[in-house]
Symmetry: C2
Subunit: 328 residues, 2 copies
């Protein structure tokens, strides 16, 4: 549950509370009782912890369970579509057991890709990179792409999907381990904590940047704008550097006039805006890339329901390599 809305960084003790609730029972046809196997924690959830309506969906409520993408197993079923033991994907509250309508769940074939991938590259993280890459960035082979937060769940997918388009991909991350992991995937990468971004972009993107995949915002966005080429596209995926700051303390970007002079396009997206048809087609393509070894992701998996708060807070201190998940 959300115990208290965080001011600044979220805290394991102050932001979250774990409560015991009764295990629910099936009461209607079409329902299934599911047991959650894995919970996805994601940076965007920080925005929903604030008491404002600026985000795409309602804020989390204090005293109510948080919610997000989860993988689960069917325990009991009153639906012809799902049987006990089936693995499913849903966007659901963080409860160990839930009764839900079967038609709100997506059945997963774990013989094709393992369960955890359906919460990362074959699921929300993959879709959150594949769809805006296709519909906003529209990359052309040979273009230079810069991806911040490259070792994160969405960033690592974005790097490899751009790579599959024939782009030159440069990324950055905040530890030697993360940088090496990116380099092992064939992505040029640097540790942003150990150099000035300005210098790194001069070195890695000497011909400028055609597409910037922004997971960070703030000063990194400002510096990167200076290196964009004419007609460059900035996919505004997230701005993790700003999430824990009060509005007045957020970084002020002073060079937006470059949007005019370089004819840039900055565009935001939320994965759920894409329609079912687009998502189904994208999922097929993601699974094709995964099975073909073209989309390799990793997961940082913590164990136990009580670890959810720690996993979430760890997103803001760079604890995750790839997707952060909690196995229940």
């Amino acid at each position: 549950m959300l115990k208290k809305r965080p001011v600044g960084a979220p805290s394991v003790e102050e932001t979250f509370e774990i409560q015991k609730v009764a295990k629910p029972s099936l009461s209607e046809d079409g329902q299934v009782l599911i047991r959650i196997l894995m919970i996805s924690v994601d940076p965007y959830m920080r925005g929903r912890m604030n008491d404002n309506k600026s985000y795409f969906t309602a804020p989390f409520e204090v005293g109510k369970p948080l919610s997000g993408g989860v993988a689960a197993e069917v325990v009991e079923s009153r639906s012809a579509d799902l049987k006990p033991g089936d693995k499913v994907l849903g966007f659901l509250p963080w409860l160990k057991y839930l009764v839900v309508a079967a038609n709100t769940l997506r059945k997963l074939d774990t013989s094709v890709v393992p369960l955890e991938k359906y919460l990362s590259s074959a699921g929300y993280s993959g879709l959150s990179s594949y769809l805006p890459i296709k519909y906003i960035a529209a990359p052309k082979a040979g273009e230079t792409v810069f991806v911040t937060g490259g070792a994160g769940a969405v960033g690592s997918c974005a790097c490899q999907i751009f790579f599959s388009y024939g782009c030159k991909v440069i990324s950055c991350a905040g530890s030697a381990e993360k940088v090496k992991w990116l380099q092992d995937l064939g992505i040029e990468a640097f540790n942003y904590k150990e150099c000035a971004l300005e210098d790194a972009l001069m070195k890695f993107c000497p011909k400028g940047i055609d597409i910037y995949w922004d997971n960070v915002g703030g000063e990194m966005l400002e510096t990167t704008l200076n290196h964009m080429n004419n007609f460059g596209r900035v996919v505004c995926c997230g701005m993790i550097s700003q999430y824990n700051k009060a509005p007045k303390d957020r970084y002020g970007i002073k060079n937006l006039f470059l949007v005019v002079t370089k004819r840039l396009k900055l565009q935001g997206f939320i994965m759920s805006d894409y329609n079912e048809e687009q998502r189904v087609a994208a999922t097929k393509e993601l699974i094709r890339l995964i099975c073909g070894g073209k989309l390799k992701t990793t997961e940082t998996i913590m164990n136990g329901f009580e670890k959810v708060p720690e996993a979430f807070c760890g997103l803001f201190t760079g604890k995750n390599l790839g997707k952060m998940l909690v196995k229940i």
Copy 2:
């Protein structure tokens, strides 16, 4: 000529110099000798006065003539396409007489619209609003549009073109005279100097803003982002509030995360990026709107070549109602 690159606001005495040069003569077939009748001064020229390559075209050179959109009359011709007395439009240096290739000029029919309109609503100002409205903003009838700098050359065209799409158009300007002029055109308008923008937008755009035509940048852009609706589009036409500031003194925009949460698109443009076919089609449509009384613009016309510096500097202190022109 550009005498010295301005630091901060341009100055009649320090930024400009007028020199006497010999009247040129025709030397090759295909050329015409033209006399400039009217010079357009535009805010974007301030950017070209800086010594940087960030703008769409090379900076103006110190000690060389400035250049821009001009209307002229053919004095002598060695081209079959133009004869003495013909009126033409060109993008040319600010000299009283010029020898140019006839095929770089556009012949004007002043029986359809008067000469000055070819430098405003039927020319660059009209195209600079019509084309991005069509290709970036893509307005739908009933959408709410906010236009800053509404009494300027491009802003006043933008207001009326959006209106022709069936949009609800709200604009602002910096004097009672300008506001009244906009209101007389049927545009809802307010004086931004006499109210808080926040309050004005609450009052005039209670359902939020779908399209923001930004001529101003800085704090007005920041405040307006707070009022954008989901999937809103921001056409970044210019940022006049920032042009005279050193990079470090520019206004820092802190709420760009709204680009993600509201899925906004911010996009810059420069009229010359649109191709000949698009521009010809747009010009026809602009002339149709002008002749049909749907696109009424006004011009502030100063008299005499020596008034060019004063006219240019006046753009930054709001001296112009509509297009600022200098009649030679």
